[in-house]
């Protein structure tokens, strides 16, 4: 029999039992939709985190004094071990360093006229903009002379700018930070990520150390390595060098911590891959349950249509024709389930994004293809046994069946 005729016949018999067919299709819809939605959630989360790491650069080493974590608590603020001397030693002795930005930072109140806000004040050098990938929006960066002479100039992050000046003019205006007057010379483009990068006020390193925080040590050292491949090598050299400078034995714990962005990214990717597999796997089980639903419906259908099968055989349908018909019916159920499941899955992930704006989802094309192919295979796999059963019926018994 012609393929399209079988499809037509199958569609007819599915339509004849609308509720039952719908329930069978629903099983597959839920399976496919949950695979797509689950994977899209994990993907979205992965993507937004990797995006953030990549935005900072994967060739970044972030050095902080003190051990990064002590009993699970970050404790870098009061440790005074990282100095400008360390910084210049690293710069002179370690190869492959592209940029290095020494940092002093802290929270401070900033005021303009009657408005005020809390900001992260960062005292640093010009390298900071490059290392952290900050782009100037308006105005200018520091002159080297301003850094050398602890000039009281400030560049504002976009959130701070908005809070202090709204939409008004700000260049050459004077703001107060911890009571001292600073001249605003520029503003930064919005970064828009979750790490409050837009709530910074950046001032020259020397001004920060001497005027604002009154300290002689550094709160951090951000290093951009020439290429991503060299990052592990550089990290090791710096560790060795700093231990020597700080008179720590090579086998002892260091009094500083180095965060390696590349390593972070790799860890993250490994974690999310596990999550994708886990959640995708759980969702795939529901697809399997949908397949069992198809098998159940098809078995009922075969029993119910025993007479029909007998008639078809009597008028000349070969076993193969009957097998095909029931397989196609099962495939239509799973195929329709697959298509609607994809739509529902995409709908769910869009829905999640609009209901929870902080959640980002990303529908992966591969998950669409995989779940569709998988659902089609589920239909054929679970449809085969009932179809085989139908095609093997003895026509005489089938005709006599009431």
């Amino acid at each position: 029999m012609l393929f399209w005729t079988i499809v037509k016949v199958s569609l007819k018999s599915l339509l004849a039992n609308k509720l039952r067919s719908f329930l069978a299709i629903l099983g597959i819809i839920l399976g496919v939709a949950s695979v797509i939605a689950m994977v899209s959630i994990v993907n979205g989360a992965t993507l937004s985190i990797t995006e953030r790491i990549k935005q900072m650069g994967t060739n970044l080493l972030i050095i902080r004094p003190g051990q990064g974590m002590q009993r699970g608590v970050a404790s870098s603020s009061n440790v005074q071990t990282l100095t400008l001397n360390d910084a210049s030693n690293i710069l002179n002795k370690v190869k492959y360093i592209k940029n290095m930005a020494p940092i002093v930072n802290g929270n401070a109140q900033a005021k303009y006229m009657n408005r005020n806000t809390y900001a992260t004040v960062v005292g640093t050098t010009l390298a900071y903009f490059e290392v952290r990938n900050f782009q100037l929006d308006e105005g200018r960066l520091f002159f080297q002379s301003e850094i050398n002479n602890n000039a009281k100039v400030a560049i504002l992050g976009s959130a701070i700018l908005e809070k202090l000046f709204g939409k008004g003019p700000f260049l050459e205006e004077t703001i107060k930070i911890k009571g001292s007057n600073f001249k605003v010379i520029g503003s930064l483009k919005t970064k828009g990520d979750m790490a409050n990068m837009d709530e910074q006020i950046i001032i020259p390193l020397t001004t920060g150390m001497k005027q604002v925080f009154g300290i002689t040590y550094l709160r951090g050292l951000d290093i951009q390595v020439e290429t991503e491949e060299k990052i592990d090598e550089v990290e090791e050299e710096i560790t060795t060098l700093l231990k020597k400078l700080h008179r720590i034995k090579p086998e002892d714990e260091p009094d500083f911590s180095i965060r390696n962005q590349k390593e972070q990214l790799e860890n993250l990717q490994a974690t999310t891959q596990t999550f994708t597999l886990l959640l995708g796997g759980i969702a795939a089980i529901s697809l399997l349950v949908g397949g069992i639903g198809i098998m159940n419906i098809m078995l009922v259908t075969v029993t119910e249509r025993t007479r029909e099968i007998g008639i078809r055989k009597a008028i000349g349908a070969a076993d193969q024709d009957i097998l095909q018909q029931f397989l196609i019916e099962a495939s239509i159920i799973s195929g329709l389930g697959g298509v609607f499941g994809i739509l529902v899955g995409i709908g769910i992930s869009i829905g999640i994004e609009s209901i929870f704006p902080t959640f980002s989802t990303k529908v992966e094309y591969s998950s669409i293809v995989i779940s569709f192919v998988f659902s089609a295979m589920v239909g054929i796999f679970f449809g085969y046994y009932p179809a085989q059963k139908a095609s093997a019926l003895n026509p005489i018994d089938a005709l006599r069946y009431e």
Binding site: M1, K12, S13, I311, R312, A314, I315, G316, I396
Partner: protein, 223 residues
């Protein structure tokens, strides 16, 4: 055209062997109109199943149009049923939810015939149902359903029309109409084998083969 030689069919029912057919031989030529009669359990249904290629004999030969059907496999049997035999059943055996037209088309579709629609339409016209081709079985009366079934049986121009109690579910008036259709078909040269237990149906056929206990009791011509 039909040659049955010593057909035997045995079933194993538990420990007992049932001889449903116990050495049946006959010959039916083209254009004959034969009634196979007998009471229930006589073996006539088994004989019909074998003649209709729904079943194969345990022993003996069934030769249809020169082909030995008794040694064919399932696929070949399906093909013979499709091309050489037109079935008409007591309970019409139409597929529900399909129009008369689609029902009649079906054997041709299984054969991959490209003119299925036209042939099906003209077959329905031949049995006087040209007006109702788009009706589904449940919208048709018993007599009309049986006409659809006859149209389906003749649509492929088969060698034999095999009717199993075709009037069994019909009132006497409709029954006469259906028998008239068979007579007309026979007049136009078709071979018809009709299985029945009703004497007044058998008497309308040209020849009667009476079966009892798996054997032919009588084989005679009506005058």
């Amino acid at each position: 055209m039909i040659q049955a030689n010593e057909l035997r069919k045995h079933y194993q029912m538990g420990t007992e062997t049932v001889h449903a057919l116990d050495g049946v031989s006959f010959r039916i030529d083209k254009g004959e109109f034969v009634a196979i009669t007998g009471s229930s359990g006589s073996g006539k249904s088994t004989l019909m199943n074998i003649l209709g290629c729904l079943d194969v004999p345990t022993q003996g030969e069934y030769i249809l149009n020169g082909k030995n059907v008794s040694s064919m496999n399932k696929r070949e049997l399906a093909r013979i049923r499709n091309r050489e035999i037109g079935f008409v059943f007591q309970n019409f055996s139409l597929l529900p939810r399909m129009s008369a037209w689609e029902n009649v088309e079906l054997p041709l579709l299984y054969a991959g015939n490209q003119e299925a629609q036209d042939l099906a339409k003209s077959a329905l016209e031949k049995v006087g149902l040209g007006e109702r081709i788009n009706h589904e079985p449940k919208q048709l009366s018993g007599g009309q359903c049986q006409r659809v079934a006859i149209a389906r049986a003749i649509v492929h121009n088969p060698s034999i029309i095999l009717a199993d109690e075709p009037t069994g579910n019909l009132d006497s008036k409709t029954s006469d109409e259906i028998m008239q259709i068979f007579k007309d078909l026979n007049l136009s040269g078709r071979t018809i084998i009709l299985v029945t237990h009703e004497g007044d149906i058998a008497i309308q056929c040209k020849r009667v083969i009476q079966v009892k206990d798996g054997k032919i009791l009588k084989d005679y011509l009506n005058n």
